[in-house]
Structure formats: C-alpha cells, structure tokens
C-alpha cells in the first residue's frame, strides 16, 4: 500500500456535510476516534474508502473526507469485496450495524469473513433498530420490549463475536464507543492486520436503547464488568485486580484468585495468535451479567487473503500470457470458406 506523503490531521478527514446523528449519539465518539486514528496509519487519504449499508451507522461515509459509498441494506461487504479484489492498493473499511450486518446482511458478512478479504469491518452494535425508530434487532436481548415486541421479543440474540469466529475471521476484536484510547488501539491493530478484521463496537442509542451498555461505560461498574484482553497476560479484572478467569474443565469461572490462594499465573492466559479458535470462543461466550465481558483482540491469525491470492493469480496469468486476443479468437476448430 502507498505511504502518505503528507502529515494528516483529524480535521483533514471532515466533510462539509452536517453530521445528522441525534445529539449525544454514541456514533459521534466513534467518528471522532476514527478521524484521530487515520492520520496515524500513514495511508494517503485518497487511498482510503469507507463503504456502508443502511442504518444510522451507515451514514458514516458521508462524514469522512475520503472516498466512500453508502450502498444498500446489508450488502456493504459485497461492494467492499468487489472493490478490494479489484483495487488491492486501497484501504477498504466497512461500516455496519447490528441490523445491517447481522440481520439482512448476515450472509454477506459471513462470506466476506470466511474468504478473508482484506477489509476492515466495524459493526456498531446498539442492540436496536434506530433509523426505523426502535424495533428489536438481532442482538437485542431475549424478551426485549420494543415497538415491534410490546410483550417482549421471542428472538434469541446473535452473539457477534461467536458469529465472526464461526466464519473464521482472521482478526476479531471488541471495543466500546466511549473507550477512546482503547478503540484507537484496536482500530490501529485492525488496520495493520492483513485479512478481514471484524470489530464489534458497543454503541449507545440515546433515544431507543439508552443505557444498554452502562455496565461497560460507567467508570465504577466497568471494573467488575469488563475484562480487558492482553496477549500473553493472565485474565485479571476488578477494581483491585482481585478477580480472574479460571478454567474449570471446559467451563470458565470467575474467581477471587488472591483470596483463594492462587497467583495471576494460575489464571487463563490470553493468546490472540492461537491457531485454534477455542479460547477465543470461550471468551466470546462470556456475557454480562454472568461474566465480565472481554474487550480487546480476541483473535489475530495470519492466513492468505482472498484478494491477495486473486491478485497474484491475475499477475501470473497476465505475465504468462503467450497469445493475443486475436489468437484466442482463432482457437478451437476452424475452417476456411473460399
């Protein structure tokens, strides 16, 4: 990928369109952090493309002064796949939401990840349909009361990280809209990753689902409810880092390890690079309120990308070409009429 010759600043990525999210929407913070991250990536602005589907989150490309396309509902990964497979020199980002990416677009999200197309997929998860004014989404908790489920929804919720693991995405992470430094670090890691990067970003919908992620955003509650993953380090959390994750058979358990007479090194150690997704899957199943919810990088493995392999096969075929197009037309059984 081409290196940027200019030093860019967050303001270079602003457009002249008014940002039309509701005041106080979690999307503002994500937008600001992405604008702060991009100048640190050393990628020229003109080589960055944001592609979105439909929904509140999908207005995003209009607010970034890069190339961008706001496509149709759920299909952003298909446009991004076609673009990246045609122009591997570009840095391609998909902006989607829980409805766009996991409901109408679940199929495409899955296939982009399993192909390992080198695109960065940011899924803004607010567990609600915002733009259509408050129906339950695939990530809404079971029994959620909304306009379309007045007596509580009958849908079991999708677990986005488990989904991404099932589709064998090569980079999977979670962050929270209000975690500035953490989010920027995760975004940088995703940008550096070669292959599909899937990031679930918890986002608060102030109007239709306010406070859903309070356990993660509240400075006090956060200590007991969030586990920050760090590669090679034991899984410790709590205000005094007194609690940890201990594997009991095949089941993770929360223990107050110090009280129980253990050290940090008796706890589960995080390994982002594990070839098998087993550990990451355990982590993806740890949900509030039964467990602290992990944030950070669940998995980061290396494998060939679809676009990279396609590009290589194209170059090889073009270099090995021995015939002209006219000669191609003459191939096969021919006869002359005089």
């Amino acid at each position: 990928m081409k290196k940027s010759e200019q030093v860019l600043a967050p303001k270079d990525f602003a457009t002249d369109l008014d940002v039309r999210w509701c005041p106080g929407c979690g999307d503002y913070s994500i937008l600001a952090n992405i604008k702060k991250t991009l100048p640190t990536l050393d990628i020229p602005k003109e080589n960055i493309v944001f592609i979105s589907g439909i929904g509140c989150s999908s207005r995003f490309p209009y607010y970034m002064n890069t190339y961008g396309m706001n496509t149709i509902h759920g299909r952003a990964p298909t446009f991004a796949t076609g673009l990246k497979c045609s122009r591997p020199d570009l840095s391609v980002w998909v902006i989607t939401g829980d409805g766009d990416g996991l409901s109408i677009g679940g199929n495409h999200l899955m296939h982009a990840m399993r192909r390992n197309v080198d695109i960065k997929i940011l899924l803004f998860n607010n567990q609600i349909y915002g733009l259509t004014k408050g129906q339950y989404s695939p990530t809404s908790i079971f029994g959620k009361r909304t306009k379309s489920s007045p007596t509580g929804s009958l849908d079991y919720a999708v677990n986005p990280i488990s989904w991404a693991l099932g589709a064998e995405a090569s980079f999977i992470a979670r962050t929270v809209y209000s975690y500035g430094d953490h989010m920027r670090e995760v975004l940088r890691r995703a940008a550096d990753h070669k292959g599909t990067a899937f990031i679930e970003i918890y986002q608060n919908c102030l109007i239709f689902n306010d406070g859903t992620f309070k356990y993660a955003t509240d400075k006090e509650l956060r200590y007991d409810n969030i586990l920050e993953l760090k590669h090679g380090e034991p899984m410790v959390f709590g205000r005094d880092r007194e609690k940890g994750i201990f594997l009991h058979g095949l089941t993770p358990k929360v223990i107050k390890y110090k009280e129980a007479g253990f050290t940090e090194y008796d706890l589960l150690i995080h390994d982002e690079y594990a070839t098998e997704p087993t550990l990451a899957f355990f982590l993806s199943r740890m949900r509030h309120p039964h467990f602290p919810e992990p944030v950070g990088v669940f998995r980061a493995i290396q494998k060939e990308t679809y676009d990279g392999m396609l590009e290589q096969s194209m170059r090889e075929a073009i270099e090995a070409r021995t015939k002209s197009f006219q000669e191609l037309l003459h191939e096969g059984e021919t006869w002359t009429v005089t």
Partner: protein, 624 residues
Amino acid sequence: MLPEERKTTHRKEVSTLDHVVIRLAGDSGDGMQLAGLKFTTASVIFGNDISTFPDFPGEIRAPAGTLAGVSGFQIHFSSNIISTPGDELDALVVMNPAALRVNLADLKPNGILIVNQDTFSAKNLKKAGYNQNPLEDDSLRNFRVYPVSITTLNQTAVESEELTFKQINLTKNFFALGLISWLFDRPLTSTVEWIEEKFKHRPTIINANIKTLKAGYNYGETTELFPIQYHVPPAKMDPGLYKYISGNEALSLGLIAAANLAKKEIFYGAYPITPASDLLHELVKHKEFGIRVFQAEDEIAAIGSAIGASFGGLLGVAGTSGPGFSLMTEALGLAVITELPLVVINVQRAGPSTGMPTKPEQGDLLQALFGRNGESPLPVIAPQTPGDCFETAIEAVRIAMKYMTPVVILSDGFVANTIDPWKIPDISQYEQIEVQHPSKEILKGSERFYPYLRNENLVRPWAIPGTEGLEYRTGGLEKEDKTGGVSYDPLNHEKLVKTRAEKIRRITKDIQIQKVEGPKRGDLLVLSWGSTYGAAYTAAENMRKQGFSVSNANLKYLNPFPQNLEEILQSYEKILIPEMNLGQLQFLIQARYSIKTTGLAKVQGRPIQVREIQNKISTILGVE
C-alpha cells in the same frame, strides 16, 4: 475402407436437398449431444451453413428411460444461408420409447424416423407411457419408420475390444452417428480425428468408437432398409475463417474483446445459475486478458461486488438468469442513482419464479426496463444471434462507460445455446473504447470537486479512489445536484430524476438506426426482438419470395429505442410482433407510439418457429 473413397461408387439412389433438419434424441446418458456436435462439425467442414439447438432435460440425472430424462440435439444444415435451427424435423433418431414420445410431434408427415428398436421393451414402453408398442400398432404410419437394432449392432461391432458392459453401452451413439452420416452423406474424417485425439491414451476406446461409427455407416449403405441417400450441397458462405460458436461463448469473448478495446480490466461477479453459468465457466479461463472472476455467495453479492469494482475503476459485469436478475434489482437501482458503469447480463429462461430453467423465454423485458423502485431508467439491449452476442457485449460495455450507467443485456436460453458458424472477426477493425478518469487537474485550482457535474451528454466524471484531491462520497440517497451530497430538496430531486432519464434518452442519438429487411413501406412489418430474429427474418423472407409485401425489423435496442423506429412503424399497414412472452414488446410499442399492432405470443419454453410466424402473416394478410 473409408467412406470418402467410395464416393463415386454409390449403389443407391442419391436425392439432393437444399436443407435438412434432424434431431437426435435419447436418454441423458445416451450421448446425443456429443453425437449431434460431431455431426455438426462434419457438416460445417463439408461446407453447409448450420444452426443447432440442444434441448437438455431439467434434471441432471433423471431416471433412465423416463420422459423427464430425454435429451435432444437438433441440427439444421443447408446449402443456403440459414438463421434458425429449423422448425419441423425432416428426420428424427430416437434411442428409446421416451425419446419417441417427447419428440414425435415435431416430425414432419412422411419424415424419416430411425428407431433403436432394441429398447422398445415392455418395461421401457411403460416408462414412456405407451400401452402398446407404437412400432407394432400402426400409429406411426404417417412416417417413414426405420427400426434398427442399434444396441445389438453396436455390441457386435465392438465385441473384439475388451470393454465392460457399461463401456459398450457408451459407444452406441457413434453407431447412430455413423448411420445418419451415411444417410446424409457426411464424411467421417472429422469425427475419427476427434475420437483419436480425445481418447489418445485409451486405444481400446478409440478402436471401439471408430469401429462402431464405421459399422453404422456401412449398415446404412449395405442394408436394404434405406433405399435413398440424401445429399445437401455446400452453401455459399461469405469467405473467411470460421468457427462455430454458441451465444454464451460469444458473449464471453465479446466481454474480453471489450476489455481489450477499452484497455480496462473486467470484474465478473456471478452466482451459478442455468443457463448463464457457461459465462462464468468461460470467463474464468481468461485471467490473462484481465478478466477477474468472482463466484459470489448469491446474485446480490455478484452485482454488489461488480458495482464495487466499477467504483474502483474496473468495469463491473454481473451475469445471471431470471431469478438471479430479480435478486439484483435493488443494486441495479443503486448503480442508476450513483451513475456507475455496469453491465448486467440476463440469460432469460422460462419463468415466473424458478419456472423452467433449461427452457428459453423472453419474459423479462418489462422487468429489465421497469423492475426497480422509483424512476430508474437504464439502457437495455438484446443480441439476435450467437455471433451478435459478441457485438452486443462490446456495445454494452461502450454505452456503460461512455454514459456512466448500468446496461442490461437480455440474452435468452435459445440464443445462448444455439450454435452457429461464426466468421471470426478481426479485432483490429473495431473502434477503441475511450475511457477517462479525471485527475486533480479537473479542479482547476479550486478546492472543490463536483462528482456530479455533467458533460454535454449529461454524464458525470468517473473519478476513482487513489486520485488525490477528488475524494467524494456517493450512495443510494438522493444527491444534491453537482456536489453529490445528500439532498431531500423537492425541486432538486425532480431535477435529478429528469436528468438521469434524459441522459438515457439521449443515448438514442449514439446507437445504430433501425434496419429493415424488405420494402421500406408496405403491407406488413414483422417487428421482433432478440433471438426471435431468425424465425421472423426467415418467415418474412419466405413471404417475400412468394411475392408478398412483408418486411422485418429486429430490435436490438429496447431502451432507448432507435430514433427512426416511429417512422418505420408508420410506414406499414400492419405490424406483427412475435415474442416468447405474452406481448411485452407489443405493450411497449403500443404505449410509446399509440400504434395498433398484432402480437404472436408463445410461451412454451421453446423458440417461435418460422411456420408459426408465416401462418400468422398469412392470416393477417388474408391469404390461404
């Protein structure tokens, strides 16, 4: 002794015909398609003009001997230039009772019917729904029936080779081919060469196939069964180098040609679907010509990826058939409003819904024109012959890139699978396709780039990612004029809806004017579109030969229509529109020009035949 050596020593009567239509039919496993293709090759090398059409069963492996499992291959060969695979059959070869039952209705009275009588067992007759053996009950008295023990004769011919029972069974199509090669005086050389090449590492198979091929030929010559041999002299073809080509192959080659002429890579997104999968199979072989092929997870992803490629500066192409085309609808609308170049190929099949996947129809015309939400006009063009598919692909790419618009190619299962001789074009004689991507220079010092500022053709610039200073956003929301920003302004919306429509309308000035064959004014015009051309032309030509004032015109451009079309329509007393649907072009013509027309609608999953059009013309003109 090779058949050619005996040419001067015919012992039987030879009858010369100017054209013959034959069909070979049998079980899917009987190798009728292969035998048909080899007969075709022998015919083109001999110098006839030919047109062929395969008729596949819908099921991949229908139970043997059943009606559902019958596969056929029809060949029209002639000493004149022909443009259809033929209507009624002069000769029919059937390998089992089911093939007889499915195909007999197409055989002419007194037509030649060669039957593999070995297969007419009680069990097979029952599977085909016969209560009595038609070979014994006189029901075939209107035909010239030749019962031949093809299975037994084949077994005898190959018995000296060590073959399994299954292998023996697989050679019997060559016996049948040998027999009809004698009957219609076709040389065996090309088939023998093909067998030797195809099975070059399996000498036993080569020997067996060649032995039975010659046994079939010699059987025709020596048995008393066949008193007459038929001869169709070579046609006077336009001089040049030829090959034979199907519509799907020609479309694929046309796309590669267009990539070549535009010096652009093509991105082809597709999901497997009958009868369009051949395009995917063919294009994936040609990476070396800059064709990137992506087998998507569904048709939505196929078109989405193609639009993504076009946004990035390649030419996106998506190929499919009816149901897949329905799935592409929403994304086509996005290509309309973003104004990105794109070619979508719909190889139509009989619908609605899954319909009859292997059977042709022209039922998607109105869908192609109007099947999107909102006002979303786009150019639609249809190829008329297999060779014309090549030209159509190039034209679609040219229009898409010149006018920044999606273009729909409406092919169909008939033109896609028809195989015609094709005079190989000289690509150096084609005009290059000009493509421009703006650079920072377009800004002329100003800071602001206007991605929707239009040229004299109302076309916006095709700026592509990677170009410094031209970063812009596009998408499905209505755009502000010129800037491309989001706008809900009522007058802006109306202006842009009208502008996008006007841009497409103006393309009429940039396409060929409509050609008419026959008198420029007269009693009747046969107005066809797409693959109905061959039958419409032949019917009109036959009527002209009989002294009637009948002209014909075949529409390739369905949207916009050619600018002289109205004038043409007003030059005839009556207009007949034959099409493989319930009158969709007729609907368009009547709505657009307020002209009364007569339709000839056929929706049987089969092409319209010459005689059907001719009969209709006769009725309209009041002749017997």
